[in-house]
Amino acid sequence: MSDVLAVVEHRRGEIRDVSLELLGAGADLADDLDGELHVAVIGGNAEAIADRLDRDGVDVIHTIADGAEFNHDVYVQAVGALYEALEPAVVLTPHTVNALDYVPAVAVDLDLPLVTDVIDMEVSDEGLQTTRSLYESKIDATVTITERPCVVTLRPGEWARATGVGSVPVEDFEFELDESAVGSRVEGFEEAGTGDVDVTAADFLIGVGRGIGEAENLSVIEDLAAVTDATIAASRPLVDNGWFDTSRQVGQSGKTVSPDVYLAVGISGAVQHVAGIKGADTIIAVNTDPHAPIFDIADQAIVGDLFDVIPELTEQLR
């Protein structure tokens, strides 16, 4: 029992980038365990997707035809069946919204320990040692899984994508889906927020976060944007408050941006926000908290009060 089973993610016929990172991480882990990397593609156009998974380090690709798109009941049963057949040491998936929707159920069904949103892992004598973030990413903690097998979900953006082309056998895995246990029906998809501004097109984006406090304080940011001809984007809480249209939300559930400069003002740098700004050439952050995780990815860090720094900047550029 030393193999790794990696379950990839796809949507609307496209493999998601996180899946290629999963293969990279899975190959390293299988190496460390002296085992094989098995990859599963469930639903959709599994065969066509399997072609893109033909990468170095992958030993076998299993395709499971059931279901056009993701359905958590089908995934739970399919992964359970594959697990019984392969008896892997570790089940790996990306830490995504769909993982949040089915992986905990897999762990319960198989009675396996689960660690989610992992940013690093290492095989040790005590077990599989994982690293994850605590307290809004201000602290990293190791969590050792003392039992094998186990289930682990990996934070997107932390592992290099698997490269190269192998020549990996693709096997069709068949199992008896218990239709009576499918209690959910996916009816379709909708695109959210095609609203007022295209933040993805801006060269200079000012991202404003909860540090702004009250809606009336936004004028501090608007003044700077007016003087510099910048576009204003926002973190999720401000959109939740109704202060901005969803089209201005940057992050995992919002827009992915790649401006020349992203000026993050009063934004802590939660992983779901940072997911949207990694493509910025330069990140400048203004935050009162010296431990704010945004500083870990910023090129220029200003530990200071936005209400002192931003009006001063506006004056200097006027």
Binding site: T116, S184, E191, D260
Partner: protein, 264 residues
């Protein structure tokens, strides 16, 4: 119908803290109710106000200290609160999400609600798994990262809108009873009124131990061990700007000029 809300007290570290002997000392921790659970609670209380639900009950796993947070939930409109605890839960057992689900499942079974609402994740440890683990432990349906839902009592189902990455939403119908994990932005959580807070002070919190719930010690054997805490590594090439606000502003202005997004 009854709605149960899982409600967590979460810890945040103060702006200036230190890691001592691999741990954060308690004096640097501040406790509060979990943001995501506040939205779940608001959704439940609104359904009661609309006459769709009769009762809203909260369940929290937490030590004596968490009573303050629980009273906040009562002040915001929960009818009753249950707190699960004994000192054996201190330390590693709760690191394993399935332990939390195992502790809450008997409460859900005893209360028999139609709907359980949980926050998508807890702000402090961010496992994001309690709601779905609980649903599966109960053998119920579930939906994760829900930003809208509509009950259909006749069809005994709930239609949920799930927020996927990149502004795409999935519409799914689930059979009831179900557990939904609630995303922020689904509503506008209310503030607790002073009167509500005062009344909550007088309310009883029903405390139950794992043994009383029939969850035995072997279920609480940790399979996960939390080890060392460290500060996350910084990328290394971050330029920290010293000085007073005008000097800091000048440094930003220089960077903006250098990047060519503003002109002199």
């Amino acid at each position: 119908m009854k709605i149960l809300v899982t409600f967590a007290e979460v810890a945040a570290v103060a702006d200036n803290f230190e890691i001592e002997d691999g741990a954060v000392a308690d004096r640097y921790l501040e406790y509060d109710l979990n943001e995501w659970d506040e939205y779940a609670l608001e959704a439940a209380v609104s359904l009661r106000e609309e006459g769709i639900a009769e009762e809203v009950v909260t369940v929290t796993i937490g030590p004596e200290r968490s009573a303050d947070t629980i009273r906040m939930a009562l002040a915001k409109g929960a009818d009753r609160a249950i707190r699960i605890w004994d000192d054996d839960l201190r330390g590693d057992p709760l690191e394993d999400v399935s332990t939390r689900a195992a502790l809450m499942a008997p409460v859900v079974e005893a209360e028999a609600p139609t709907l359980v609402l949980s926050g998508v994740q807890a702000a402090d440890d961010g496992y994001g798994s309690t709601g779905v683990s609980l649903a599966r432990t109960l053998g119920w349906q579930w939906g994760a990262v829900v930003n809208d839902f509509t009950l259909d009592r006749e069809a005994d189902s709930v239609r949920v809108r799930r927020e996927l990455e990149g502004g795409i939403e999935e519409i799914t119908t689930l059979s009831l009873p179900a557990v939904l994990t609630i995303q922020t932005g689904i509503n506008d959580p209310r503030y607790a009124s002073l009167r509500g807070l005062q009344e909550a002070q007088a309310q009883e919190i029903d405390v139950q131990s794992p043994a009383e719930l029939g969850v035995w010690a072997d279920r609480l054997e940790p399979r996960l061990e939390r080890g060392e805490l460290t500060e996350p590594p910084s990328r290394g090439d971050t330029e920290y700007v010293e000085g007073d606000p005008p000097e800091q502003a000048t440094a930003i202005a220089d960077r903006l000029l250098e990047a060519g997004v503003v002109q002199e």
